[in-house]
């Protein structure tokens, strides 16, 4: 009970700040929290990255193994993206099969990589129709401080950028880098009482009416979008978010994802 009251007071506090154009942690509406990315943190993975955005902390591991292609794309590699909201990361997460929010996060992370064409799937073919590289992107959320979405997407691309195809381990020639040809970046905005803010903290996320994630590529074009949450958005709001998301993605890419 008292927990709920505290939560209620907290919401009021954030809402009142927002009306004055301020945020809990002193950021401007378009400002991200501090981002740190460390790569190659897991030796057993073919690629890996630890991403922190403020309090949020995820580790992404990329495992790459030979496998069978899908029948309808016999000459293309396979991407499989998983994300679990394990109970270690938040008092509100529960053990068990992934629920709809975890599945949505995984699928939007996946689409960011896939639809941007970041991975050249045709170069992941070993023997057409028989053997291709399976790229497993596993996102392990360790601490939920809000905006897991962007941390997950950043971690996925950072891990891929440092990953190698373990050909020698499977007697398939020499190891090589993963065939990357773009660097998509996801930027997530929330709408709170009509205002738009980037990179929501956990508290901001909890009171937001809706989220919009916009993934854009090196050319500044859109690769994927996902509206999540029950508040509608106007065309103006959407166009505004798209514009700043593309700019912000450029900044993040240039600062953190230089190949």
């Amino acid at each position: 009970m008292s927990n709920e009251i505290i939560a209620e007071l907290r919401k009021d506090y954030i809402y009142n700040l927002m009306i004055k154009g301020e945020r809990e942690d002193g950021r401007t509406f378009n400002q991200y929290r501090e981002i740190t990315i460390d790569t190659n943190v897991i030796d057993k993975a073919e690629g890996s990255a630890r991403v922190k955005i403020g309090d949020t902390h995820v580790v992404v591991g990329v495992k790459i193994q030979p496998g069978t292609p899908f029948p309808d794309t016999p000459d293309q590699g396979v991407i499989i993206t998983n994300l679990e909201l394990i109970p270690l990361a938040s008092p509100v997460f529960e053990a068990g099969p992934p629920r709809e929010d975890a599945i949505e996060l995984a699928r939007v992370t996946d689409r960011g990589v896939r639809e941007s064409g970041a991975l050249d799937l045709s170069k992941l073919c070993i023997t057409p129709g028989e053997k291709v590289w399976m790229v497993f992107i596993d996102v392990h959320v360790l601490d939920d401080g809000g905006n897991i979405m962007d941390a997950s997407a950043l971690g996925a691309i950072a891990a891929l950028m440092t990953a190698k195809l373990p050909a020698s381990r499977f007697g398939l020639g020499d190891d090589s880098v993963v065939p990357l040809r773009d660097v998509p970046v996801s930027v997530t905005a929330v709408e709170i009482g009509g205002s738009i803010m980037l990179d929501p903290s956990m508290d901001e996320e909890s009171i937001a009416g809706t989220k919009l994630t916009v993934t854009s590529n090196q050319a500044g074009e859109l690769s994927a979008m996902q509206k999540s949450g029950v508040h509608p958005l106007t065309t103006e709001q959407i166009n505004y978010i798209v514009d700043i998301a593309i700019e912000k993605a450029k900044e993040i890419r240039e600062k953190f994802l230089v190949i």
Binding site: I103, R111, L222, M225, P232, T235
Partner: protein, 243 residues
């Protein structure tokens, strides 16, 4: 079908449509006896049925909300709805589609009228042909009205895509398979966007243009939804008068 050389020739799509033209739509309201509201919706080759139950009791009870109804949405593809038989039961895709479809409809439902109760929306895809989620939302929106659930408005949905570098309305299966972008949209009649997903490749300008095209498509669908409901309503009135 393997990738055709061209998906648009002389401004006309392979199925004969112009770029901004919707596929044929067929709507039947109140097609089920057991459900409180229902709708059969054909959208090109898509055949979907939506049913609404509620407001009704919530099981299990800990899912109740004390100040509003819970809205639940189950999008389900019949095993025989697609070329390769689909294993029965929910998969990751259908769980995501159910979530965003529910969120597309929640804004228009007066949930606060029915605390502690549930409004259940079931959408069955009997035949799939690109655009099942938008077909489902269109059907569900009508089924909610048919069930007498108080709503601020209907919700209408369709997709915009890009094929052969051209923006087109309402992708069919081949355009979806071989196109460059797909963007499903749902909106209210006053232009509020309640569902927005995109994947593929769109420039900022194409996105803006596509959004406007989608809005026109939704407006056209909205008129058909209204007509279908009117028709059922007026035939009932007539039926009542003729007694």
């Amino acid at each position: 079908m393997s990738k055709p050389e061209k998906l648009i020739a002389d401004g006309i799509r392979l199925d004969g449509r112009k770029p901004d033209e919707l596929r044929p739509i067929k709507i039947k309201v109140g097609v089920l006896n057991r459900a409180d509201g229902s709708c059969y919706f054909e959208f090109g080759g898509n055949k979907v049925i939506a049913a609404v139950y509620g407001p009704r009791e919530v099981h299990p009870r800990h899912m109740q909300k004390s100040t509003s109804a819970v809205v639940r949405y189950r999008y389900n593809m019949a095993s025989f709805s697609v070329e390769e038989r689909k294993r029965p039961g929910p998969d990751r895709r259908s769980i995501e589609v159910s979530k965003v479809s529910r969120e597309a409809l929640e804004p228009v439902i007066f949930q606060e009228y029915f605390p502690r109760s549930a409004i259940d929306i079931f959408v069955e895809i009997l035949q799939a042909d690109a655009g099942t989620r938008t077909a489902g939302i269109n059907a569900a929106s009508i089924a909610l009205a048919d069930a007498g659930i108080p709503m601020k408005s209907l919700v209408s949905a369709c997709a915009v895509g890009k094929v052969d570098d051209t923006l087109v309305l309402d992708l069919n299966k081949d355009e979806d398979n071989y196109g460059q972008a797909d963007m499903p949209i749902a909106m209210t009649p006053d232009g509020n966007i309640t569902l927005l997903q995109m994947d593929g490749h769109l420039s900022r300008d194409e996105f803006r243009e596509g959004l406007e095209m989608a809005k026109k498509g939704c407006t056209a669908i909205y008129e058909m939804q209204k007509s279908a409901l009117m028709e059922k309503y007026s035939s009932q009135i007539e039926g009542d008068n003729s007694e």
